[in-house]
């Protein structure tokens, strides 16, 4: 095993680890006063780690040269693509945090904990290990590092009972899901005699026994929990509602990307020889998520709960790309993932910018009535995001759904595509309701509260990506996604 080459491959992770440890010391001595400089430093480090990914992303890397530490870690184009998205989403979560935690919205404490950026850094580290896992042990450790940071982040407002409840629920259910995943992995290890993805794949070729099938199902169930796909989605609305809004924005973006990328890698690289075994499971989860995500959102009054159901719905579309089980489907899935991150982050930033004069956040439909009169810019931005999430044509959300449906139809799964399209029409109802409440209802209270430059920059950036301008990005985005998907299907 060549340690120098291995360390060179995981250089971004090493940077994140080192920076996390140093910033932790700064946090320990500086106290909460140093939270803002630490957050800026953490964002800079994430950006730096992202820059390191660029050459590999640009030229596309796959093959044996991407294996580090004797095959425990694999840093191919697919991993790089997912990592770039994760780092960007984490930077977003750092940019919007300070204004929230120091306002009245954060309850009685009104101070940003210095550990928040450090935990975001470690969560990003865990996610980047997840997406470059090439062994079940690496997978599990990355997943736990990410989850453990996420539990703490959900409960970080400890005087707020809702935040504590969210953290506890997430922790208990997450631990259960980890147990299920671990059980599945131990079954696969028992029936194939290896923990490396290549070894398990070799052991799963040919006729598959019942025990190994159980392993496949348990692993998929554990992963489905992490991406909040139906029928393992119950925790999502509660956790999204209770967690502080910047943390919710983080949960809806980066860990989703990581878990979806991980699922894609597991189904293609480990269960690749048993497509029939997993395809119907993933297809069921995809359609069920699309339908339940759409139906569940209809009755919601709380905007964060609504966005939680919206994320379940979107995960369904992402899984649909996965269920196609070919390279085009995987590429479409990555394109969707990128656009989903932009839409999701944008909607949460817009929600964070809506406050009353005391600084408390607006969280229900009743609060945002007539927003087009009181805060026209934010209302228009939200309109762009909601129409894009609904998949209405000139916006980029339409393109995302289009590539997924195209891959589905080309693979001959027309019936499933038709069901998904029908369900997305149901989903359009509540996105359009959002717009109706903002533009056609009588204005409610006074919406004031200044928003920092960071919010405006993020809002403008995500709105620009989602708007028709985003089509300028699609050629290079498609190119990157194709390279990433190709590395997933690389056959030596």
């Amino acid at each position: 095993m060549d340690f120098a080459a291995s360390f060179a491959l995981i250089a971004p992770e090493l940077l994140l680890t080192g920076a996390g440890l140093v910033l932790l010391l700064v946090a320990a001595w500086g106290g909460d006063k140093s939270a803002r400089p630490i957050a800026i430093a953490a964002a800079a480090v994430l950006f730096g780690a992202g820059i390191m990914l660029v050459p590999g992303l640009h030229f596309g890397v796959d093959g044996p040269a991407t294996l580090a530490f004797g095959g425990l870690i694999k840093v191919d184009s697919f991993a790089l693509f997912a990592k770039a998205l994760i780092y960007l989403a984490a930077i977003g979560a750092l940019m919007i945090a300070h204004a929230f935690f120091t306002s009245a919205a954060a309850g009685t404490e009104r101070v940003m904990r210095a550990e928040y950026p450090v935990l975001i850094l470690f969560a990003a580290l865990g996610m980047s290990i997840m997406v470059s896992a090439n062994d079940f042990m690496t997978l599990y450790l990355g997943l736990e590092l990410n989850s453990l940071s996420a539990y703490v982040l959900a409960a970080i407002l400890r005087r707020d009972t809702r935040s504590g409840e969210a953290g506890l629920k997430y922790f208990v259910l997450g631990a259960l899901a980890s147990g299920i995943l671990l059980y599945g992995m131990s079954l696969l290890y028992g029936f194939t005699g290896g923990t490396g993805f290549a070894a398990v794949r070799a052991g799963l070729t040919g006729e598959m026994g019942t025990g190994a099938l159980f392993g496949v199902i348990f692993v998929l169930s554990g992963l489905a929990f992490k991406i909040s796909a139906v029928p393992f989605h119950m925790w999502t609305p509660d956790v999204y509602e209770g967690a502080p809004t910047p943390v919710t924005a983080f949960f809806a973006t980066a860990p989703k990307v990581a878990a979806v990328a991980l699922t894609a890698r597991v189904v293609f690289e480990v269960f690749g020889a048993q497509v029939d075994a997993w395809q119907q499971i993933v297809m069921f989860m995809a359609l069920a998520s699309i339908i339940f995500g759409a139906l569940g959102a209809i009755g919601q009054e709380n905007l964060k709960r609504l966005l939680a159901y919206s994320s379940i719905n979107n995960v369904g579309f992402i899984l649909l790309g996965l269920a196609v089980a070919n390279q085009d489907g995987a590429s479409a899935m990555l394109v969707y993932l990128f656009i989903y991150v932009a839409m999701s982050l944008g909607s949460f930033v817009a929600l964070l910018m809506l406050r009353d004069e005391d600084g408390a956040l607006f969280e229900t439909f009743a609060d945002i009535r007539g927003l087009s009169v009181t805060r026209p810019l934010i209302a228009w931005a939200l309109l762009v995001f909601m129409f894009s999430l609904a998949g209405i044509p000139p916006l980029l959300g339409f393109y995302a759904k289009f590539v997924i449906f195209q891959a589905t139809v080309e693979a001959g799964l027309v019936a499933f595509g038709a069901i998904a399209i029908a369900a997305s029409v149901i989903g359009a109802f509540y996105y359009i309701k959002f717009v109706k409440v903002m533009f056609f209802d009588e204005p409610a209270g006074v919406v004031t509260g200044k928003s920092g430059a960071a919010h405006w920059v993020l809002l403008a950036l995500t709105a620009a990506i989602v708007s028709p301008l985003g089509y300028l990005l699609t050629p290079s985005l498609t190119d990157l996604a194709d390279k990433a998907a190709a590395s997933l299907f690389f056959v030596p």
Binding site: M1, E115, F122, M137, G142
Partner: protein, 207 residues
Amino acid sequence: MIQAIAFYFFATIVVASAVMVIMAKNPVHSVLWLIMTFFNAAGLMVLVGAEFIAMLLVIVYVGAVAVLFLFVVMMLDIDFAEMRAGFSRNAPLGLVIAAILLAELLLAVGAYNAGGIQLGSADGSAMQAADTSNIEAIGALLYGRYIVLFEIAGIILLVAMIGAIVLTFQPPKPGARARQDVGKQVRRRPEDATVMKNPEIGQGVEL
């Protein structure tokens, strides 16, 4: 021969003390029986030549269970006076258990020196004994091939620690509780703090 005797001895005690864990009325006794179970399981591990796992069982489980024991004692409403009164009554039982543990220790060392038990494998043939000790083998794997996983596990534990502190630590409010200054306390003289008064009868004092 000695291995077989030791095996049945340990196995019987594991099962018996495991039964006692759930049968004992006093939770403290349950914990003690649990320690007994772990101890004997460790003995079984020594017999099959997995001395590292045996050590882990004793250090981690028995050590951790001792902490658990403390928690049980702290959380439950136990009358310590009554427990102390029962000490002389329970002493014979304690002595018997101590004697059993001592015998087991001797037996285990004897059996270990007499060579490991023959392990069967699925096809009926005996397993090959490794030529390195398993502490060495585990160390070579953990710090060589799986070093990166080992380090990630370290980061996970660090995050767990950060989490526990973030969620529970309350920084003292400034000025709420003055710090104790021992030097100042010692320097303080009686004449600084007390005044002698000789009040008129029925007048009281003005302080």
